[in-house]
């Protein structure tokens, strides 16, 4: 659940929620079926879409070691899972707090930005073929945060 709603519940310790607060809650609840559908789609199609990305990545980087490509793909799988959960909860901060600080520092050591750039282009193409426009609108902002942190680590500030 998004941080705003969590803190709203906490703040309403001994009072009823204000009308404005109830509207925020209603908006989130009304968006939940779409969020759950998108989450289910990403979960069910995980292996299929990532396999297509992996196949293309191997073609594009045929001289790169399998270990390096596998590391990039594993990180992308992680990012997708965390981003999907962040979308479900509408909580971009959780992605930053739980994964990105940790992942970007580790990733920086391996210097795989060139591979990651192509990987995320391929991934975005695949997402366009499995998610509806409405679902993409919900999911893409979360993935974009992660993508930027990995592909352009020097231009991104993440909470360590």
């Amino acid at each position: 659940m998004q941080t705003t709603i969590e803190s709203m519940f906490d703040n309403a310790e001994n009072r009823y929620l204000e009308l404005e607060e109830l509207n925020i809650l209603t908006t989130y609840v009304e968006s939940l079926p779409e969020r759950i559908d998108a989450y289910r789609c990403l979960r069910d199609q995980e292996v299929t879409i990532m396999q297509k990305v992996a196949d293309q990545l191997e073609t594009n980087f045929s001289t790169e070691s399998q270990q390096t490509l596998e590391r990039c793909l594993k990180n992308a799988l992680l990012v997708m899972r965390y981003a999907a959960m962040a979308m479900l909860r509408n909580d971009a901060e959780s992605l930053d707090r739980q994964l990105m600080g940790w992942l970007t520092e580790t990733n920086a050591v391996y210097n795989t930005q060139t591979i990651d750039t192509v990987l995320y282009q391929l991934l975005n193409q695949q997402l366009g073929s499995i998610l509806t426009q409405a679902q993409l609108t919900l999911f893409r902002p979360h993935l974009a945060i992660a993508e930027k942190a990995i592909v352009e680590p020097n231009k991104t500030t993440v909470v360590a």
């Binding site: 995980e46 292996v47 396999q51 196949d55 191997e58 799988l77 899972r81 940790w102 360590a160």
Partner: protein, 218 residues
Amino acid sequence: MISISDLLIDNRIPSNYFASDTYVKGDLELGLLENRRGDRLLALPSTLIEGMYAGLKQETGQASGMVLFNCGLWWGKNFYARFCEELTEYYRTAVADMPMVEFLQNLKQCWTTHGWGRIELDQSYYDRGFIMVKVWNSPFAKFAENATTPSCFLESGVLTSFFSQLTGRDLKCVQTTCESMGADCNQFVIGLIKRMKPAEEMVAQGLNHDDIMAQLQN
């Protein structure tokens, strides 16, 4: 050919084990704070740290630093064992087989999640036999009053034990700057015991960090 199914062992990919959201749990009805595998955690009141410092100073005078350092050694010995145990269990790989970058990244996250401040490791002196560690927002520096010398003795002890066990060598950690003396962060230098002896003397003489490092490398 890469198989995505093969990358997903038991449909899991280990990630940030010490992430605070998932690491710290609580059964508040029983009065327990726990980590994610059920080991007990304690919230240490800042006044207790102040009280320990004051009590030790009163009872042992100048030896209080040595007492705290020895407490840190004991803490570090157990901390290292538990840290490795948790990583091995979670990543399903021996610590010796884990990439050093992931091991150190976990140490940093672990340190932060436990509220001991933010820790950074600087390996630029590694080829000259020293490991540099920086800690910001240390709770152990914050409560040292009117310090004239670095006062994170507990951390020095922990880091001594931790890196001695990690490297399999008898190392010593010496603190060269301290937040309690107005420094931006707490800096620690770790190296072989005999090489660190002069550093202890230079700290006692009040030399600054850069001068100490310059002389240590001579």
